[in-house]
């Protein structure tokens, strides 16, 4: 079946613009995760949803970052007033069950470049 998809794959934003990144998880997956991956580094956790509930947002770097999953499937990561340090690849992952967070299936990511 289809894996995790993300759109857009590439996004260029001018500093100060707002952006919205979309994640379509694998159908039926309960858990959804967002990560930020800077160039040459490992992914860093941003936030976690179980169905529509955002259970952990401890990794969001500032209040300019906001994520939602209103119907428990598609999720959107929104970044307001983008800054250059927001440039990174944003990865989405989904997992079938709770209790086994390591069985995560990752999407290809959205590469955000802030100029």
């Amino acid at each position: 079946g289809a894996g995790v998809s993300q759109s857009p794959r590439y996004k260029v934003a001018k500093r100060g613009q707002d952006v919205a990144l979309r994640c379509d998880p694998i159908s039926g997956h309960v858990s959804l995760f967002w990560y930020q991956q800077a160039l040459g580094q490992g992914p860093e956790f941003l936030t976690y949803f179980q169905n529509e509930a955002q259970l952990d947002k401890s990794g969001l770097p500032s209040d300019r970052f906001f994520a939602e999953r209103p119907e428990g499937s598609v999720s959107t990561l929104k970044i307001q007033r983008t800054q250059q340090e927001d440039s990174a690849v944003y990865l989405c992952a989904s997992s079938q069950r709770t209790g086994k967070s390591y069985e995560q299936y990752f999407g290809p990511g959205t590469r955000l470049t802030v100029t």
């Binding site: 995790v4 858990s31 995760f33 800077a38 160039l39 040459g40 580094q41 490992g42 992914p43 860093e44 956790f45 976690y48 179980q50 259970l55 952990d56 990794g59 990865l91 992952a93 997992s95 069950r97 709770t98 209790g99 086994k100 967070s101 390591y102 069985e103 995560q104 299936y105 990752f106 999407g107 290809p108 990511g109």
Partner: protein, 112 residues
């Protein structure tokens, strides 16, 4: 985590040889340790995991070793193939379902 910057540690291996990728982890309370493979332009792909009460686990062509005494994890790839070229990340997770903590990566390159 700490910044590795643009210069990932690189392991160069002759095609057909075995590869050993090492990782040091920080949290002795982690329950699971995982290895991911990331190819250029793609998201990380799960390879193998090991629970903290084990010291060795084998998969297809891969073996993970866990040494809790020195907080060390290794991934062994047998008979390395060109398709194994990628960046490899170790990661750790707790018993809850909320997050995975990725370590620094190692770039594996294969010499023909």
């Amino acid at each position: 985590g700490e910044s590795v910057g643009l210069h990932l540690p690189t392991l160069s291996v002759q095609e057909g040889d075995n590869s050993i990728i090492n990782c040091a982890y920080s949290n002795s309370a982690s329950d699971y340790f995982i290895w991911y493979k990331q190819e250029s332009g793609k998201g990380p792909q799960f390879i193998i995991d090991i629970r903290s009460n084990m010291d060795k686990r084998q998969g297809q062509r891969v073996t993970v070793l866990l040494n809790k005494t020195v907080k060390h994890l290794s991934l062994q790839i047998a008979a390395t193939q060109p398709g194994d070229s990628a960046v490899y990340f170790c990661a750790e997770a707790g018993s809850s379902a909320s997050k995975i903590i990725f370590g620094s990566g190692t770039r594996l390159s294969i010499r023909p």
